[in-house]
């Protein structure tokens, strides 16, 4: 499984990429493989404020619907509309074109609660 070193991770299989005051979030390669073919994605509304571990998006495979959680407290400033037309981007490019939303974070200190690549690898091994 591909677990890029430069990203942060959650126990619930989201990846987090720091972009200044913002974070870009998607689901890991491991998560997309577990979910199987993604057929529908419900992306969050712009401007929505969320707490850490609050359900914010839904990814549906042929088999089931899975909630995607906010890794830390913040506000939604962007969401990947391309997933509405092409949900399979999550399978084909989970760390790139398959990103789900961008949060403006309240407190950069919160990122310290997340896992690094080594810790996430250990969780999924």
């Amino acid at each position: 499984m591909n677990v890029p070193d430069a990203l942060l991770y959650t126990e619930s299989h989201e990846w987090i990429k720091r972009e200044g005051e913002n974070i870009r979030v998607g689901i890991t390669d491991h998560a997309q493989a577990e979910l199987t073919d993604v057929v529908f994605v419900e992306i969050p509304k712009m401007g929505r404020t969320v707490n850490a571990k609050e359900a914010l998006a839904v990814v549906e495979s042929v088999k089931a619907a899975s909630d995607i959680y906010a890794p830390v407290k913040g506000t939604v400033i962007d969401a990947n509309k391309a997933l509405e037309a092409n949900p399979a981007l999550i399978n084909t490019d989970p760390y790139g074109e398959g990103w789900i939303f961008v949060l403006k974070i309240d407190n950069p200190e919160d990122l310290k609660t997340l896992k690094d690549a080594a810790a996430y690898k250990q969780q999924t091994s």
């Binding site: 493989a33 577990e34 199987t36 073919d37 057929v39 529908f40 419900e42 839904v58 549906e60 495979s61 042929v62 088999k63 089931a64 619907a65």
Partner: protein, 366 residues
């Protein structure tokens, strides 16, 4: 509660070697998918797929009164079965509710072969054992049989290349014995996908050899191994019920729209009286097929269903149909709301989405 013991089929190692994603299903460790649910689904619709169905149960009933006794235990008319023929049927409780749906084959003058659902083997066997007269023999042969399903429009071609050098394949709903490397195997022309195909029963000791042999020959016809994920989407497009989801001890076959497999005219059988009452009064709820009107989230089991703002029932199965590329499912709704062509609404995460009641099956071969 004791932890459930994990059961495996004789083909488990082959699934792992093929890179299958394995999941628990009714206490069994089974392949969910190999190349992907959608890819496997399309392979079965366009070419041919092979499924491990060794988790399913097999019983043999024999004795002079086997036919009359089974006719008391099952809803379809066993007396109509010629030698080597099978029929879809139900095992009911006293309230007319479904214990299991199964296929019964007549394999001898006084011998019958029953194929039952994996999760119901012990319950079915216990129920049959409890009602069985002492002069009949009932055996649970499930541990001795492996089974595969070979399904798709190229199944007949495959059969000729595999076993058909000098013999014809059985016709629809028929079962026949063949010899494969000195072992007797039973081949039935049945399935759970809506495509032509076979279900093959064999001694567990030849499982690996048979699986690898069939895959090697099947390659010529575009065969792929297929898992439970595709098995579920294929059966749902055909509106074939899944016991435990669409069927239950609290639902009878008439409510499920499966009266075709219930013979109320034959001599008495367990569950007949409540079914007769349902037939006379009409069912209060019906299992209907829904197709979402627009692209959006697919329906899932237990999502509520509404008519004109009133809750009229709930989904029992639901998925995105790989053939139709839209959400489909089955739901029990009040009979008054259940007319074909009616537009209902499915509530998904607090939002209502329109869906049309369609004639079954949802997928029709073009």
């Amino acid at each position: 509660m004791l932890a459930e013991v994990l059961k495996t089929t004789p083909l488990k190692d082959e699934h792992v070697k093929l890179g299958a994603k394995m999941v628990l299903f009714g206490g069994w460790l089974m392949p969910l998918q190999y190349s992907g649910i959608v890819d496997e689904h399309r392979t079965v619709r366009s070419a041919i797929g092979m499924f491990d169905i060794s988790h399913m149960g097999q019983f043999i009933v024999s004795g002079n009164t086997a036919r009359d006794w089974l006719n008391r235990m099952l809803t379809n008319n066993v007396a109509k079965l010629g030698l080597g023929t099978g029929q879809y049927t139900f095992l009911l409780n006293d309230r007319g509710g479904v214990i299991d749906d199964l296929i019964v084959y007549r394999t001898g003058d006084a011998e019958f072969f029953l194929v039952v659902n994996a999760a119901r083997v012990d319950e079915d066997f216990g129920w049959l054992q409890k009602h069985k007269p002492s002069d009949l023999e009932l055996r649970n042969c499930s541990p001795h049989f492996g089974a595969i399903a070979i399904q798709g429009p190229r199944a007949a071609e495959f059969f000729r290349a595999w076993l058909g050098n000098d013999r014809e394949a059985p016709v629809r709903n028929q079962i026949a014995n063949f010899t494969l490397s000195d072992n007797t195997i039973s081949v039935a022309r049945t399935g759970y996908t809506g495509e032509d195909g076979f279900e093959v029963f064999f001694p567990t000791k030849i499982a690996t050899e048979l699986w690898l042999g069939a895959l090697a020959i099947g390659g010529k016809f575009g065969m792929k191994p297929c898992g439970l994920g595709a098995r579920d989407t294929l059966r749902l497009e055909m509106c074939y019920p899944l016991n435990g989801s669409d069927l239950s001890p609290d639902r009878n076959p008439l409510e499920a729209g499966l009266g075709l497999f219930v013979d109320l005219e034959k001599p008495d059988f367990i569950g007949r009286a409540p079914l007769h009452e349902t037939k006379t009064k009409g069912p209060q709820e019906r299992l209907i097929a829904l197709k979402m009107k627009e692209k959006g989230p697919p329906p899932r089991p237990h999502y509520p269903v509404f008519a004109n703002g009133n809750r009229v029932g709930e989904m029992t199965s639901g998925t995105l149909s790989p053939s139709l590329n839209i959400g489909i499912g089955l739901a029990y709704v009040s009979a008054a709301a259940g007319k074909i062509g009616t537009v209902l609404e499915v509530e998904i995460r607090g939002q209502k989405f329109p869906a049309t009641i369609e004639k079954k099956p949802l997928y029709k071969k073009s």
